[in-house]
Symmetry: C2
DNA sequence: GAGAGATCCGAGAGCGCTCTCACCCCTCGG
DNA sequence: CCGAGGGGTGAGAGCGCTCTCGGATCTCTC
C-alpha cells in the first residue's frame, strides 16, 4: 500500500543548493530575478531531492487553492442515471484542467448532507463552487451564500436570495420548448400533449411555460406532470392515452421521458410519427438517435454549458485576468441557445 | 457572485470567548478536558462569529487532509459512457462520506495528463488514492508509487512494480466467465463463441482465461477481440457470423458488448436464445433487463467494489482503527464473487 | 485542614511556505 | 576613480492551526 514518506521541504532544498528559502521559492514559482547559475543549482537540488511544494502551507499564505468544488444537489441515483450530468461534468473538467485547477466532486447523500457540503465549502478548501440541478426548495444556495464562496449555478436557480450577484448558465429552455411545439403545429398536429419534468426545477417550469406560450389555451388535460425519468414518461403517457385518446403529438420534457412515452405508445399500437408525433429535449446522444424511431428533439450543448460555468467562475476569481475576452468586469449569467434537431419521430 | 470575506480565526473566537486558542481548538475538535461552562461559552462564540476552521492551516500541522483522490485512467469519453464507473464511484462516495472524507475526482485528459495527476498526488492534497481501470502499459501506477501515496486499485493492475504492497479489489472475472460458459454448455450448446473485452485490461484477459478454462480446445476462430463497447460487439458479431455461421452461443465480455451482438444477431435473423444463446457480464442495470430478450449475465456487485476500495484505503490510513473488523494489520487485496443471473437470452 | 494527585487551561513553539524589506554588490556615469 | 543607482539575495515575520508542557486549580483522603 506504499507508505507515506516525509517529504523534503523548501528548507532542505535551500540547504542543498546553498541558498536561502526565498530564492528557492522564487525559482520554484517561476518568478524572475534569480541569476542563471544560481537558479540552475536550485533546480538541480529540487530534482535530486524530488521536492514537491506542500500545498497546505502554500494555501495557508496565498489563500488560493486552485481547486473548484462541483456540487450536485441531486439524489445520487439520478445523478448517474442521467447522462446529462456526465456531459456537463466533462465540460467543466476540461476547462478547469486547462487552467490548472482541480475538480473536487461533492455528491450529496440526501438532505442532511447539505450541511456537510456547506461546511466543506466554508472550510476554505476550494476557491469557488459550481452547483447543479437545484430544486426550488433547496436550502443549499442560501448556505453557500452564507459561506461566502464564489459560485456559478448550472441552470437558473429558482431563488434570488435577495442578492443580485447570482451567476448562472442555462439553456434557453423556454425558447427551445416553443420551437418544439411550433414544429409540431407545423406538422399539422392540433392535439399536442406535454409531459413535464420535475416541476421543482426551473428547467421543467421553463419548458412548460414555453409549451403554454404557443398552446395558449390548451386543454389542461393534455399536460401531465413527470420528473425527467423514463418511468415517469411511461406513467404519464398511459395517463394521457386514457384521458385524451385523440392526441396526435407529445412534447416530452426531456429525451428520457420521451423514451418512456415511445415505449407506451408502441405498446398501445400507436405508430410514431404517423399517429402520434413525439419531440424530446436535450438531444441526449446516443439515446436520442437509437430510439425507434430516432427522436426529434431540442438540442442543448451540455458540455459547453459546463465549460462555460467553469470559465465564468474562474474569470470571477481573476484566474484568467490576462485573457483577452476578459473585459467587462464581473461575469454575468449566460443563456445558451437551443436548436431543433429533426429526426424521424416528428 | 458572492465575494470572499475574511473569515474569523481561532484567535478571534478565543478573544471573544475570553479563553486561549488552545481551549477553542479543544472544543472545536471535540476533545474532552474542557469544563462545561467554558465549553459552552466557546461554542457560543463560534456560533456568533460563524467560525469555520481553516483546513489548510490544520493540515499543515496534522498532515491529514481527510480527502481521497479518485483517479480514472480512462479516456473520458468511455468513463461517462460506461455506467460501470458511475456505480463504483457511488460506492466509493458513500463509504468516504460515512468516514467524513472528501472525494477528489481526477479525470485524466489523455496520456500527458498522467504527469499532472502524479504531481497532484505528490503535492500532498490527499491522504490516499483510488485508481481505476488501468491499462497494462499505463505509467500511472509507477508514478503514483514514486509519489508515495497510499493507493488501492480497482481491478487487478497488470503490474506488480516489484513491490508486494499493491492492494486491489477485483471481481472473480475468471470464475464468473467459467460459470457463464458452463451454463451455455449445460444448455446443450457446443459452438460457443467469445467476444473479448479490451485485452490490455486484466479483467478482459481474466474473462478470456475463464472461457478457455472450460473450452479447453475451442476453435480459435470462435474468439474475437473487442473492447467492451457496443460498437465492438457489433463488429465482432458480424465477424463471427461470417467465420462460423454454425455457432450456437456467444459469451460477451460485458453487457454492452452483448447489446451490440444482440443487435447484429437480430439483423441477421438469428433468434435468441433459440438459434444463438447469449450471455453477458456485469449485470449492468437497467440495460441488462431491457434488452430484447433480457440478458442472461454474470453479476458483479460494482457498488460494493467501490465501497470496499474506499474501506481498504481508509483502513490502511488508520482512519477506522477502532473498527472491530479491523484486526489483522495491513489490508490485502479482495476478490469478490460473481453470480450468474438467468434471464431469457440463455 | 493540609498534602498528594488529578484535572483543567494557557503559553509558546512550530508546521512549510510566501513576501516584504533591507542589505549587498555590481555596473555605469561623471 | 568614486558615488549613485539598480538588480540580486537573504533575513525574518507571519499565515491559522495543533499540541506539548508547565503551572494553576480543584478534589480527595486521612
Amino acid at each position: 500500500m506504499t507508505e507515506t514518506v516525509p517529504r523534503p521541504t523548501l528548507e532542505a532544498v535551500a540547504a542543498r543548493a546553498g541558498v536561502s528559502r526565498a530564492t528557492v521559492s522564487r525559482v520554484v514559482n517561476g518568478a524572475d530575478g534569480v541569476r542563471e547559475p544560481l537558479a540552475e543549482r536550485v533546480r538541480r537540488a529540487v530534482e535530486e531531492l524530488g521536492y514537491v511544494p506542500n500545498q497546505a502551507a502554500r494555501s495557508l499564505v496565498t489563500k488560493r487553492h486552485d481547486a473548484v468544488a462541483v456540487v450536485v444537489a441531486e439524489p445520487e441515483t439520478r445523478v448517474f442515471a442521467d447522462p446529462f450530468f456526465a456531459r456537463q461534468l466533462r465540460g467543466i473538467s476540461k476547462e478547469l484542467t486547462a487552467h490548472d485547477n482541480q475538480l473536487v466532486l461533492l455528491l450529496t447523500e440526501g438532505r442532511d448532507d447539505h450541511a456537510r457540503v456547506a461546511r466543506y465549502l466554508a472550510g476554505g478548501h476550494v476557491d469557488g463552487a459550481l452547483v447543479f440541478s437545484l430544486h426550488l426548495d433547496d436550502p443549499l444556495p442560501e448556505l453557500i451564500q452564507r459561506a461566502g464562496v464564489p459560485t456559478v449555478f448550472g441552470g437558473r436557480p429558482g431563488w434570488s436570495g435577495g442578492r443580485d450577484g447570482v451567476v448562472y448558465v442555462d439553456s434557453d429552455n423556454r425558447g427551445g420548448a416553443r420551437d418544439a411545439v411550433r414544429h409540431l403545429l407545423g406538422l399539422g398536429r392540433g392535439r399536442i400533449a406535454h409531459i413535464t419534468g420535475a416541476l421543482d426545477q426551473t428547467s421543467a417550469v421553463d419548458r412548460l411555460d414555453g409549451f403554454r406560450d404557443v398552446m395558449v389555451d390548451a386543454d389542461p388535460r393534455l399536460v401531465v406532470e413527470g420528473d425527467f425519468t423514463p418511468a415517469a414518461g411511461e406513467r404519464a403517457m398511459r395517463e394521457l392515452l386514457g384521458r385524451c385518446p385523440d392526441l396526435d403529438a407529445v412534447f416530452a420534457a426531456n429525451d428520457l421521458t420521451a423514451v418512456g412515452a415511445l415505449r407506451v405508445l408502441r405498446e398501445h399500437g400507436r405508430r410514431v410519427p404517423d399517429d402520434v408525433a413525439v419531440v424530446g429535449f436535450d438531444d441526449m446522444l446516443p439515446i436520442a438517435e437509437q430510439t425507434d424511431p430516432p427522436l426529434t428533439t431540442v438540442r442543448q450543448d451540455i458540455e459547453e454549458m459546463g465549460r462555460l460555468m467553469a470559465r465564468l467562475l474562474l474569470r470571477g476569481l481573476d484566474r484568467t485576468a490576462a485573457a483577452p475576452e476578459n473585459v467587462g468586469g464581473t461575469p454575468s449569467s449566460v443563456i445558451l441557445p437551443t436548436t431543433l434537431v429533426r429526426r424521424a419521430s416528428a
